[in-house]
Symmetry: C2
């Protein structure tokens, strides 16, 4: 598949996948959420080739998802930390995680617990919610074109309402 072909689609999902839609990239982001910062630590965790890791870190930095900065502890070392844009991927990460836990579970139980730091209570599962808080499935949601819908997007949206 070609990255260029996907770039042509003016769709938020396509644009997003262009920046993060690759297995290693999303696993690097996952590790960054776990607090991993150093090149060597990413490599140890992911068992990934230095060449691939270096390319992925560079692309994540170029896209403003990670920031490369000098380590506070060792001025000669660099570390990669999530920017605000990167941190905003948290719902993506947790919804991927919940789906994996549901459909590809570890037989011994959940792989990790996620607790609200303030109350130490488990956080809620990530759901799609109505304004009044009802949990919605795709079948409860209507899609309408908006000011930023190009012709391709309108055809995709109208497909549903039409068919």
């Amino acid at each position: 598949m070609s990255k260029l072909d996907v770039k042509k689609l003016d769709c938020s999902v396509a644009q997003t996948l262009n920046q993060i839609g690759e297995r290693w990239t999303l696993l690097i982001i996952r590790d960054a959420f776990h607090g991993i910062k150093r090149f060597d630590d990413f490599q140890t965790q992911l068992k990934i080739s230095p060449t691939v890791l270096s390319a992925r870190l560079q692309s994540l930095t170029k896209n403003g998802i990670l920031e490369k900065r000098k380590s506070h502890l060792d001025g000669r070392a660099f570390e990669y930390v999530l920017t605000t844009k990167g941190l905003d991927l948290y719902p993506v990460l947790l919804s991927l995680m919940a789906w994996g836990d549901k459909y590809m579970p570890n037989n011994a139980g959940p792989r990790m617990k996620l607790l609200d730091k303030k109350t130490q209570q488990p956080i809620r599962p990530v759901h799609v919610l109505a304004a009044d808080g009802r949990v919605l499935s795709a079948k409860d949601v209507v899609v309408r074109p908006a000011s930023g819908s190009d012709e391709k997007m309108r055809s995709l949206i109208n497909y549903r309402s039409g068919g």
Copy 2:
């Protein structure tokens, strides 16, 4: 990168990416959520080669995300529809979409409107929420090992608490 390497990680995100972590795969899922069912319609929307599309549809069917069935309208034609497992990817899709709309916007405005079918009101943005409904960022969440954490997962989790 090798698919096998990623398979070895007992992590919900890694396992999920093994089934859906590829650009075309996620765009096929996006189109299926828009109600596209037929091979030719996926191809028209995605401008993807028939060989690639066929391989991706086969893998999505094998993984139980799409179901291949005979069309109700034309018994000789086949269609691909989301299973319950596939429909459960809705929070993943909407969180990817929201992130793309925020960071790679179309200058003319939002690309589509998502309305609650029952009330015709906009749905809520996908957020990570505390039990009491507060919106949480990654910094508000503590990660703890659970019964299904293998050694690799424990090392990843402890990295954060340790460092």
